[in-house]
């Protein structure tokens, strides 16, 4: 072997690197993807028939979830103001009474499952019929504190090992979830974040804001576990519920026979074709809030279904899916669980995050993101943020800024700057953003989860921020895109304000 400078400037063997390249080439030799088929899939998935901007990347999330598969249900609202009283989606579903009386044989009997395996050719009407038919009469009075939520996951076939079902309860407004909020074996988490964000939660008033305040608690339970809700306020405020499961390898090759969840929920049902990722059916069942339902899906045996059923409302979009193979949903939630809330806010539950080049539109379930860069039209940017935080609380003109006058549109502590001074915003472009902990406001962070309260250690590690020794503002760090004002220079000191783009900081 000959020694020489390696790829990085160090000294390694040429032969070593060549051998590595050679083995990598050999390792991927069997990987022969069907390019033309994949190309068609991508085109179908990007069909303009789906209004992506309105769905706010929800379809992308669904696509991502469908790929790995998921088993999930999500309770989508229970604010005292019924924000979903008039859903935007077509009310094509059965009325409660119709749903109760409908009887449709299992999909294995009517061939839906077989058709569905074929993907595009599946009959949406049959799919929908099968889904709606699975509804059963209301089981009892509305759920309340102390009620049990029973999750049943029935799997057939020779698979060994237990499927794992994750039950997540999302608190949106108000009550603090205590350690006793969920029963059964689970990995409880985020309790501290619930307490930490109590002041923020108390400010949430309108339905447009509740989504952003989603908090997470819950954990993994065994199939057939009963999760007892012990918080008296649980069903009085806005809460979400997500049930997801993970199948073993052996089970992965099989179908689930039935997933049943009993819950009080007002929901729409979405049927999407897995192979094309197109939503083929949306129906709003029209059930009233807190009307307990059992949504049960039966699938044909022998091959995976190709459709996905989700629960949707007009605000949160495709909030969860029910599909074959559950993996990503549960794992994605664990990603959140790992993060200390005080240092790394729950970005995964955010719909927007901050970026050095603008803001990130994030699909909460999948984490997929798109940058809305500085320079974007004001209307776009404001509309995007409003989807998460509702209308801005205030707007002000900043005439003395060094780079010229700016208009500041404010959501509490979160300010977004636009160039120019026209109050109408006509022609104004997105110029910058800032967070300041002197004001109350939404919890919003960078894509890495850095925000107000993050430590100096965190911003230095995650973004390679360096201290600006000449700053007149105090302890100011800069990472090349974002400026961070901290309470000090020790690793445990925390971020008090941060901004990117044009700012109006008086130095």
């Amino acid at each position: 072997m000959s020694n020489s400078s390696d790829s990085t400037g160090g000294r390694f063997d040429d032969a070593f690197e060549e051998e590595l390249k050679s083995q990598l080439r050999v390792a991927v030799a069997p990987v022969m993807p069907d390019v033309e088929h994949a190309l068609q899939s991508v085109h179908r998935a990007s069909s303009p028939s789906v209004d992506r901007s309105q769905r706010f990347l929800a379809v992308a999330a669904a696509i991502a979830l469908i790929g790995a598969g998921a088993v999930g249900l999500s309770r989508v609202s229970s604010t005292s103001e019924d924000v979903f009283a008039e859903p935007a989606v077509t009310t094509a579903g059965a009325t409660p009474s119709q749903a109760v009386s409908t009887t449709v044989p299992p999909m294995s009997d009517d061939g839906v499952g077989d058709d569905a395996v074929g993907g595009v050719s599946a009959d949406p009407a049959l799919q929908r019929r099968a889904i709606l038919a699975a509804e059963v009469p209301p089981i009892s009075s509305p759920l309340a504190g102390g009620d049990a939520l029973r999750v049943t996951s029935a799997l057939s076939g020779p698979g060994s090992g237990q499927p794992f079902v994750s039950v997540e309860v999302f608190a949106d407004i108000g009550e603090v979830l205590t350690a006793d909020a969920l029963g059964g074996p689970y990995n409880r988490r985020f309790d501290s974040s619930l307490f930490a964000r109590r002041d923020v939660l108390s400010q949430v008033a309108g339905p447009a804001e509740w989504r952003q305040e989603t908090l997470n608690a819950g954990g993994f339970v065994s199939p057939d576990a009963t999760v007892t809700v012990q918080n008296d306020r649980l069903w009085d405020d806005a809460w979400d519920l997500l049930v997801s499961g993970t199948l073993t390898d052996a089970q992965r090759s099989l179908l689930f026979e039935a997933i049943e969840v009993e819950l009080g929920v007002s929901y729409a049902i979405v049927v999407a074709d897995q192979s094309s990722s197109e939503i083929v059916e949306v129906s709003w069942n029209g059930h009233s809030e807190n009307e307990p339902r059992t949504l049960s899906l039966d699938a044909a045996s022998g091959a995976p279904t190709r459709y996905t059923v989700g629960v949707e409302n007009e605000d949160v979009g495709f909030s969860a899916v029910i599909a074959y193979e559950a993996e990503r949903v549960a794992v994605a939630e664990l990603d959140i669980a790992q993060t200390p809330p005080t240092e790394e806010p729950n970005v995964a539950s955010q719909a927007v995050a901050l970026d050095g080049d603008g803001i990130l539109a994030i699909e909460p379930e999948s984490g997929d993101s798109v940058v809305v860069p500085f320079g974007s039209p004001r209307a776009d940017v404001v509309a995007l943020i409003e989807m998460s935080y509702g209308p801005p609380g205030s707007e002000s003109l900043l005439e003395e800024c060094g780079g010229g006058p700016l208009t500041s549109v404010n959501w509490g502590s979160f300010s977004v700057y636009f160039d120019g001074t026209a109050s109408s915003g006509e022609g104004a472009a997105f110029a910058g953003w800032a967070l300041d902990n002197r004001f109350a406001g939404p919890v919003i962070a960078t894509g890495e989860g850095l925000g107000l309260g993050s430590t100096v250690d965190a911003i230095v590690t995650a973004r390679s921020a360096v201290l600006d020794p000449e700053s007149t503002l105090g302890s100011e760090y800069f990472d090349g895109a974002i400026s961070w004002l901290t309470s000090g220079v020790t690793g445990s000191d925390t971020v008090e304000a941060f901004w990117a783009g044009e700012s109006c900081v008086l130095r």
Binding site: F12, F16, E17, V28, A38, H43, A45, A60, T246, V372
Partner: protein, 169 residues
Amino acid sequence: MSSADATSVHAMSAELSVRDAAAFDALFRAEYAGLVRVAYLIIGSQARAEELTQDAFGQLLTAWPSVDRPGGFVRTAVVSRCRDAQRRDITARRKLGLLRPQAEAEPEAHYLVDALAALSPNWRTIVVLRFYGGLSIPEIADATDQPEGTVKSGLHRALAQLRDQLDSA
């Protein structure tokens, strides 16, 4: 993600012209298989590699009118998705021990590739992009959204670890 990779909310729903669609298809045919293989080496599953690569191209298709460097865009998107997948896997394995090895048939093992699997996800990504993808340090830095220095040191240390593993084997 750089501003070059950005797309506006409006662009997300834009339809492509015939010429754009043809250009997209040409890029897809030229790059798809290679990117799937890169993703496969990083995450170890062909099915997931294909899935996330298609997702990345879907993102590119949506953002096409506003993307200056579509090749770089989709490469970055693939790497980003691989990193997300790695994080999910690591978390799941650590927290639950639930995820079984991929059911699909794996290619014949080779000692360096096996050693590669023992690297941290970031280092593995860097090594794959460098030695299979043939990317330069700046290109890897761009694709992984890391400073060049970080990539360089990571690559150096990854190679050192690979050699150590082989020496101790």
